[in-house]
Subunit: 350 residues, 2 copies
């Protein structure tokens, strides 16, 4: 559909595992002093001296997390890195290294994997991270990508999920729901394409939401911004499963409640118009859509003057005592309990 | 075949991703001071102070790396950890943490995953490592396990693949080829079982080689032994793809050649008898069989007195100038070039 299928096609079989790793990673350079040894031994060797390190990992499975009929491989490589960096930034850390393992079936050509790694390389360049290891193996079916990301920070900068206090402000970066609505548009176009392969879709109206789905950016800029503003959040989490489930994580781990204001949730105009077109409630999408990769944090009221003028940060509610519970305050001013529908990849499966 | 199929069966669908992770990891305790924060946030937080850290990762895919018709899930969980720890020990490091991600289809029950995690927990206990993170997601087909292992060591203790020097001794731990022959026996029994499911196989004759396949141990003891003997290898690698391909890795990266003596390669009597039964040459199996998870190292001749009496270490050859090439010296004293057939999971696929 989007991908150009008329490419040269080199079979993987004769290249072998060692040749393949060497080939795919030969352009990857080392940027960090903390990377003592990258790809090429039994393990990478890292040196963080007095810094703390953070480690996070995610698995991406074809036809569960992505659909190659509309996800170009280069974008997929980029997104696989973003998904993991987002978790590093949610600790308020600086991302430094990743390992990338892939399993592929023989239906993938060398050129296809080169596209995937071009996306990984682009992400590594833009986000200044070293690719220090990985594993390349065969799969009996689709494509599987496993990324582990490592970051560094000083002890005093670590932000956990469990530090929110009553009266803290609930703050979110960027806008929400776009990635999910982008997915709805792509799914609809896939169905149209099945019926009429000659149809050339005009997706200009949906450019922002499709980009949010296919090429999300992790909020490295926010970690720097918070430092520049001299604000340390009391808690932080990245929004991968939808705002609602992430708020619940923070509240449960911090033993607090919250009031979230529906009319404060930041939505892009394209999300609003596409929700109208699909006859879906935009608040439901922002709460449960997932894959936004924005950051949700709580900030002490004292820090409000430092953040109030910043277009990247939106106050969407405040933290309460645990006994008050977790609520959405609707536009009609009724208080309804927050539920984590989230994006549950296990129950989504059937 | 080996696994007990008559178990309680709780469906994964209603449990959800968060419930599943919590449930499976609730018994995992933290043993290392370097683990500041384990499972439960966007990322684990680690603190290695002045130590260097090593990071390695591996993907295990159902029907590529394991066959559940004879691999009990508990053993599989154990083996998934061993495969990664082996790489940590091959750097001469102390393994400290792992992350474990799994993707499962709905054909797996909660009880099946509990078995898998029981194996992971057993490995973590015995090898004194902390499970600090992971991801649990659905798969459209089989079981996928991705493990990242982390270890620590002092800078002066790091052993790379590239430090072998001419006249160094080529030394291997344990014995070789058993895991591969264990696999051959299990594959044969699987075929017998297909024809006659009532057949109760007598596998006593093959107990050692089957255990080497189903429940390998990574050589943590060797890292300690080398320290106790005050021996630092000049190079080291773990034997996952077969002796031949690992020797070639060391020689290529160290820019040296080698003479490997066929009559010195350590073989267990069960490997020899099973090779005879299967009419396979045991040297070929030791060279190319794979999955031994022993360590191959090069040691300076000066250190020979320290290792010569040790039953865990066998001298199998010596390093030569690069121009001499890499050779196997056969029992008949002819010198034939070493070739890396190895265990190539990409070309093995078809």
């Amino acid at each position: 559909m989007i991908e150009d299928k008329n490419q040269q096609r080199t079979s993987l079989e004769n290249l072998g595992e060692f040749g393949l790793i060497d080939h795919l990673t030969k352009n990857f350079d080392i940027k960090h002093k903390s990377t003592v040894k990258g790809i090429g031994d039994d393990a990478a060797v890292l040196d963080f001296k007095s810094k703390k390190i953070v480690v996070t990992t995610d698995l991406l499975i074809e036809n569960v997390h992505f659909d190659l009929s509309y996800m170009p491989l280069k974008h997929l490589g980029y997104k696989a890195i973003m998904v993991n960096l987002s978790d590093v930034f949610a600790m308020n850390a600086n991302a430094t290294q990743v390992t990338v393992s892939i399993a592929v079936s023989n239906r993938f050509s060398l050129e296809a994997l080169e596209d995937l790694y071009a996306g990984i390389e682009t992400a590594a360049k833009i986000y200044n991270i070293d690719v220090v290891g990985g594993d390349t193996t065969s799969s009996t079916t689709g494509l599987i990508i496993s990324v582990t990301a490592i970051g560094e920070l000083n002890e005093e900068d670590i932000v956990y999920r469990n530090g929110a206090k009553p009266n803290d402000l609930l703050v979110v970066t960027g806008d929400l729901g776009a990635a999910y609505m982008g997915l709805q548009v792509l799914e609809r176009e896939k169905e149209v394409f099945k019926v009429n392969p000659q149809n050339q879709p005009d997706l200009d109206l949906y450019s922002y939401i499709i980009e949010r789905q296919l090429k999300p950016e992790a909020r490295q800029d926010i970690v720097k911004l918070l430092k520049d503003l001299d604000v340390k959040p009391t808690s932080m989490i990245d929004i991968s499963d939808g705002l609602s489930s992430e708020i619940i994580h923070i509240c449960k781990q911090s033993k607090v409640g919250c009031d979230l204001y529906e009319n404060k949730i930041p939505l892009d105009p394209q999300v609003i118009s596409t929700c109208e077109e699909f006859k879906i409630d935009s608040t439901t999408i922002a709460l449960n859509g997932g894959e936004d990769y924005e950051l949700l944090m709580t900030i002490s009221q004292e820090d409000f003057p430092k953040i109030k003028a910043n277009p990247n940060l939106t106050v969407i509610g405040f933290i309460t005592e645990e006994s008050r519970g977790m609520h959405l305050v609707t536009r009609g001013e009724s208080r309804i309990p927050l539920i984590a529908k989230g994006w549950n990849s296990l129950s989504d499966q059937e």
